[in-house]
Symmetry: C3
Subunit: 361 residues, 3 copies
Amino acid sequence: MPTYSLGLIRDLLGGELDGNPELQVTGLKRLEDAREGELAICLKPRAGVDGQRIAATALVAPSGLPLDYPNVIRVENSRTALIALLDLFYPENGRPSGIDRRAYVSDRAQVAAGAFIGPGAVVEAGAILEAGVQVHANAYVGEEVVLGEGSILFPGVVLYKGTKVGRRVRIHSNTVIGSDGFGYVADEAGVLRKIPQKGGVEIGNEVEIGANCAIDRATLGVTRVADGTKIDNLVQIAHNVEIGRGCCIVAQVGISGSVTIGDYCVLAGQVGVSDHVSLGDKVVIGAKSGVMRDLESGEYIGYPAISAREARHAYPLIARLPELRKEIRSLEKRLAELEARVGTVHSAVEDLDSVDGGSAE
Amino acid sequence: MPTYSLGLIRDLLGGELDGNPELQVTGLKRLEDAREGELAICLKPRAGVDGQRIAATALVAPSGLPLDYPNVIRVENSRTALIALLDLFYPENGRPSGIDRRAYVSDRAQVAAGAFIGPGAVVEAGAILEAGVQVHANAYVGEEVVLGEGSILFPGVVLYKGTKVGRRVRIHSNTVIGSDGFGYVADEAGVLRKIPQKGGVEIGNEVEIGANCAIDRATLGVTRVADGTKIDNLVQIAHNVEIGRGCCIVAQVGISGSVTIGDYCVLAGQVGVSDHVSLGDKVVIGAKSGVMRDLESGEYIGYPAISAREARHAYPLIARLPELRKEIRSLEKRLAELEARVGTVHSAVEDLDSVDGGSAE
Amino acid sequence: MPTYSLGLIRDLLGGELDGNPELQVTGLKRLEDAREGELAICLKPRAGVDGQRIAATALVAPSGLPLDYPNVIRVENSRTALIALLDLFYPENGRPSGIDRRAYVSDRAQVAAGAFIGPGAVVEAGAILEAGVQVHANAYVGEEVVLGEGSILFPGVVLYKGTKVGRRVRIHSNTVIGSDGFGYVADEAGVLRKIPQKGGVEIGNEVEIGANCAIDRATLGVTRVADGTKIDNLVQIAHNVEIGRGCCIVAQVGISGSVTIGDYCVLAGQVGVSDHVSLGDKVVIGAKSGVMRDLESGEYIGYPAISAREARHAYPLIARLPELRKEIRSLEKRLAELEARVGTVHSAVEDLDSVDGGSAE
């Protein structure tokens, strides 16, 4: 682990240093893990920090954080600072390159000089691998797949025939792209006949896709993930889905066939979206929600998903349903009693009326 | 892409042509993608179609669709027509065959002539691969696995020891069949002791299984998926589950241990079924539902799943719980006021009574 | 399948035999599958058993089960008995060992004598494989990975660089451990910049992990699964999660970043836990629940998860919301009528009052 002075780190982060700029730190850790001689980073902007339990020699902390500690570098955005610090303390190794002799690469594939193809990887005929591409061990690149400059397939990734992947895309292990969409027609006897899936998948530039995801090819046309979108692990993207730019699709989300999602949307973990639904730009869906209709920009939660503001009032009331029912029961009883009494009063008044009437006559 | 006349296509589909039977089209596209010279297909039977925005030379459309366009072939079922058109415009290539020299095939495996075993695939001792079987790159066929005629394992599929697969089954990439069921017994100290999983898995004929699924072997006996059932991506099927014929199991469904599912059931995306639950034939479960008890034929939604008719009334009311609670509060207030007033009236009447009684005396 | 006498089996299980100890049985089956000559095991302690439909020659059954059958071995805990019987009837084969010539093992990896490395498996530089380790076909062991004594990677498992795995751990096919955590920072333009993920993953001893799971490396520090925890298929464990000892994490659970889970917890199928949530020891979460806040020891269900006792009363009332609303409507109507009548009565009484007052005067 390299060693740096606090002055150098302050300058790198553009922060302010309370403490000794000559002091050297030799490793970057989380607050709770850091030991003497190391630099720790505080990520939670609001949480109080107990200075006495910190062993780190110096801290990087958000400017707003209440904190009394010798040697603190204050930064505006601690997550941006984290990126710079990780790059500083964990510099990237050189990229691997070359074709392992245990890989299978078709004579009819085009592989740029400097690309890496690991042991057991398979590259089929017609595939195009641009400069700096890495296809790690046991990954599979089907016929006519295109992998743009600098893209990486981690071990075990499978790209079916014809999948197009942009530049600087990272696809984590055992993710499958381009498998058949789930399309059948039931005949009169209920037998499910397969609709051949003949479309493709196109992944934009700077996309990252987690482990064990499944993105299906379109029936006709293209399933599409646009530039800069990030996809977590175990996500399902069905045939003919179109996802815009800069979206975050968190783990275990399921997006049904022909869904359209705009730019800069966030789908939190385990969300499901029904087929043919269309989401606008900047739609944010809370974890575990089920989206069953088109939604405009805004925040939504629940099953069915409603505006987050409504949902935060409504969902906790499920727990109070037994109490609400009890209140209704109690109102009913009180009302029935009152009705009986008013009935009595009423007849009493009617009696009085007639008495009165009688007496008036 | 091949070229066909509208007359030929009409005859193939058994439809009716408004337009010129001699006209040639050279590609099949979705309505929104088709360009001049191409054939487009309209799949939504009810949606209006804006003729002016269509660039296709000819359309295939359901007979009921309101549509004014030159050169339309009308068909009864556009999805059945789609299958025929996809087969016409995208004819299947010849099947691959032969054993790649980078595959490992045990001397004690039986492989029919004409089977395909791709680079990096592994076929263990005692496995039986019938005619036309395809085991693609890096797939794994364990000991004593049987793969029936024409079945296909896409790259990276893993079949553990003893898994039996029927004929014309398609299993997509990185799906795992026959891994251990999730069975443990906690001892007095809370330590979980593994229950050995010694049963198997049997997959029927014409089953299709998506990418990245997991189907566990039975503890004893067999986990079973019957003929013609179709399973989407990322589906979990636990030990000792039995699924009937012609079912649709949509993406990310989880079926717990020892569940029994009848024939022609549909489980929509992200559904969960509790262990030992039994579903009859033709049970349809809506997306994201949690099934916690046995269900007869019918449609169900929700958590816990209830009849869909009920659920469609009930679930949207969650959003209105704050309003319902407000109404209850308001009723309570009005009732309390009324009680107070009726109390007054009542005493007033009682006063009157006594007055009146007094005066009558 | 081996043959044993009922006397031997009784002694092995420490049970009581009603029947002939000399009688031989030749296979172990589930009650419904067993045929003459075989031993069947009844696992459900309470379910009635219809003796007439059993074909087995002898039964192993829990002592409490009402059952009239010749040749029954009564045991206290039928699941513990099942483990002993499975070990008896299905003895483990010898472990495989040796390095397949189609495997790739770096010169700089340390592989203990007797370890097994299957065809197509890859072991990178700096990896350490202790005694009895099995790395099956096409699995991937990244740089500096440690695999403790007796641990098994089934075909297609991927361990990214630096992952530490304890002793006697079983990891099922196509599970991915150590892929990048899902961490980005949006810049002013909304572009998501990747936070490099430089921490690791540590898996304790006697852990079992199902098929197609994803466990991400920490950003800094370690994602940890402690000794004896069992994880089912298709589970997502995000970066910096810490899971205690002896937990059961059932299929398709999703655990968000920086969640802490105590010892002996059970998360049932499809549960989701929000990021930074902390669960105590012995927390049990019901299937499909969404946990959004810290929870102490106890049982919880629902979305948001509440105490199971509350939830069992509350959730079924969702189905009755339309009815509750109708009751509220009806109360409102009755109350309005009553208010009108009381208003009338009131004025009548006021009239009477004045009349009465008048007459009194």
